[in-house]
């Protein structure tokens, strides 16, 4: 069980970007973090991963506070996939092996290499394990990022717009893969998304942020046209086509 309690964040004297954000998510669930630009979505998951230091609040995983752990312990529980995929003149294998850093004291053990290879195989990257990361396509690089996070063997996986630089095929491929990983390994995923259709199709929990606070949070029942219209200030229809939930926007209709 993931429990986020009252996270507030602001840069020095300015207004708070997040104020008292809290929500819960069961193990192995996939939560979409939704909201307009500037609503604080990326800031929220960066605070949860201690990349940014929140003013107050806590993140509990099975009742244990992530914020009171050492950095190393924290990195074993919680992994983060940034918005921009990695580059650099390192092999895919080395980039994924980096996910073992929270477990390595002086050098990578055989076990670390085994876990890295397993993550690479799981993500379907085995064919290019020895290629340089900067020679890969955007979709493959995104997978390298996810493989590295999986190699961390986290219980909580935070992703910042993992589909933003991908083509439609890779967007669906990535989301499907995340859902599978969440289910088969019991990893709790929290995903910042802009694409409401990806969210409604692949996620089972939805967190709407507005003006730095929680507007609504829950399962499929909160994905209503009323909530979406309130948060995005745009007319939408929530429909279903061949059993697939869809959010159809109508931006031409004035609110």
């Amino acid at each position: 069980m993931l429990e986020v309690r009252g996270i507030s964040f602001g840069y020095s004297a300015g207004r708070d970007i997040l104020s008292g954000v809290g929500f819960t998510a069961p193990d192995g669930s996939m939560t979409a973090v939704l909201g307009n630009n500037g609503a604080g979505k990326s800031t929220l998951i960066k605070c949860m991963d201690r990349i940014l230091a929140p003013r107050s609040g806590d993140v509990l995983l099975s009742g244990r506070s992530l914020f009171s752990m050492t950095r190393r312990e924290h990195a074993r529980e919680c992994a983060y996939v940034p918005q921009s995929p990695p580059g650099g003149a390192v092999s895919v294998f080395d980039a994924v092996l980096l996910g073992r850093r929270p477990y390595i004291s002086w050098d990578a053990a055989a076990e670390d290499k085994r876990i890295a290879s397993e993550a690479i195989e799981r993500l379907g990257l085995a064919g290019c394990a020895m290629k340089r990361v900067d020679e890969l396509s955007g979709g493959e690089r995104q997978k390298v990022s996810i493989a590295r996070a999986i190699a961390q063997q986290p219980r909580l996986l935070l992703l910042d717009e993992p589909t933003s630089s991908l083509d439609p095929r890779n967007q669906h491929g990535t989301m499907k893969l995340l859902r599978e990983l969440a289910r088969e390994r019991g990893i709790t995923c929290v995903v910042v998304l802009h694409d409401l259709n990806l969210a409604v199709r692949y996620c089972d929990r939805f967190l709407f942020l507005r003006d730095g606070g929680v507007f609504a949070c829950g399962g499929r029942e909160v994905m209503t046209s009323e909530n979406i219209e309130e948060v995005y200030r745009m007319h939408v229809h929530v429909a279903e086509y061949m059993g697939i939930p869809l959010v159809v926007p109508f931006p031409e209709i004035q609110m």
Binding site: R50, I51, A75, S91, P102, W106, K113, A129, M130
Partner: protein, 356 residues
């Protein structure tokens, strides 16, 4: 789940990188031997080897142990210190153009050392030859470190406060710091007496000939400690290579690692500068040459940059001695001729852009 999950290419790749490192080290040893043999008294390979192991005639032994070997050792230690510091600075500042000399750390250290020598009387000029004898290495080194740190502090503050600045801006800050400290050194020289003036001017060109075994011992200790620290942080540098946020989420205390690493880089390069003067561009050229060889993997890049920096400096020193022998040209000038084109090439190739 399959029992055996292997990456057959991986171990081969690691072996190739180990071979690259070994090749650089062998080249370095060969260059060091050549450097010990060449000079106004030319030693044949046989004479060199017998003198090295305590045989041969007395002149050859004296030339070797009092002049050639200290010179080669100074080149190796200073080159290694500058090379690995350059690689680490490029990593923690996420800036391919970073190095002790391009950021003004060397010039700051040189100013500090000049203050130590001229104001605190940390050194004296030995007779007719323009060699600065450093009598109080601790004072000179401390001054060099403090002033070098001033440059580092400014660079770190700028890179923290304005994350949106490109790599070029940081180098411009380095230009400003360099001018400031060069100006300070000029003023000091203006008020120094004639003998000190000549010596200090010569010394700012970079000179590998003035170090004795005692100084080399200090240099070796600090360089070795710095290398051990850097190697212990190699996974953190690799994590930083994947981006600051990613490194943080992998459990790296990014701020602390950057701060301590920059302090260690400053200490190693300030010490090098205080003993041999400003030697530019080794910290820029060596890591970039090695990146082509072993990539951005700091497990290999750090030792390779140290060995590569040593190799470059010993070759530059060799060139400075044989180009118009018996005149020995300032080695700092030679490395600048080598480094400036590389610097420009880096600017043109990537437009000074660094990958996140």
């Amino acid at each position: 789940m399959k029992a055996e999950l292997r990456q057959p290419g991986y171990e081969a790749g690691q072996r190739r990188k180990a071979l690259a490192l070994l090749a650089v080290i062998i080249l370095l040893l060969l260059a060091a031997l050549v450097s010990c043999a060449v000079g106004s008294i030319r030693l044949s390979p046989g004479e060199l080897l017998s003198a090295l192991f305590g045989g041969g005639d007395g002149t050859a032994r004296r030339v070797l142990y009092e002049i050639r070997l200290p010179r080669a050792a100074a080149a190796i230690l200073v080159g290694a210190a500058l090379g690995m510091s350059g690689a680490v600075m490029q990593c923690v500042l996420n800036n391919p153009l970073a190095s002790a000399s391009t950021l003004g750390v060397s010039q700051g250290a040189a100013f500090g050392a000049a203050v130590g020598i001229i104001v605190f009387g940390g050194g004296a000029v030995a007779g007719g030859d323009y060699a600065v004898q450093i009598d109080k290495p601790y004072i000179v080194t401390l001054c060099a470190f403090l002033c070098g740190s001033a440059s580092t502090a400014v660079i770190l503050a700028i890179s923290r406060l304005r994350r949106d600045l490109g790599p070029g801006a940081l180098i411009l800050a380095g230009v400003a710091l360099r001018s400031l400290f060069t100006g300070g050194s000029t003023l000091l020289q203006y008020f120094a007496d004639d003998t000190k003036l000549g010596a200090v001017v010569f010394w700012t060109f970079g000179d590998l000939g003035g170090t004795d075994w005692g100084e080399l011992g200090i240099l070796a200790a600090v360089t070795a400690l710095a290398l051990i620290y850097f190697l212990s942080r190699r996974w953190d540098y690799n994590a930083l290579g994947a981006g600051g946020d990613t490194a943080q989420s992998l459990g790296v205390n990014v701020r602390a690692v950057a701060l301590v690493s920059m302090a260690v880089c400053t200490a190693a390069s300030a010490l090098a500068v205080s003993f041999v003067g400003i030697i530019s561009f080794i910290g820029l050229v060596a890591p970039h040459a090695m990146r082509r060889l072993v990539g951005d993997d700091y497990r290999w890049l750090l030792p390779c940059s140290a060995a590569g920096g040593a190799l470059l400096l010993i070759l530059a020193d060799l060139v400075s001695r044989v180009l118009i022998a018996p005149v020995i040209l300032p080695v700092g000038a030679i490395t600048s001729f080598l480094g400036a084109p590389v610097f420009l090439w880096l600017l043109l190739r990537k437009g000074g852009r660094s990958d996140a």
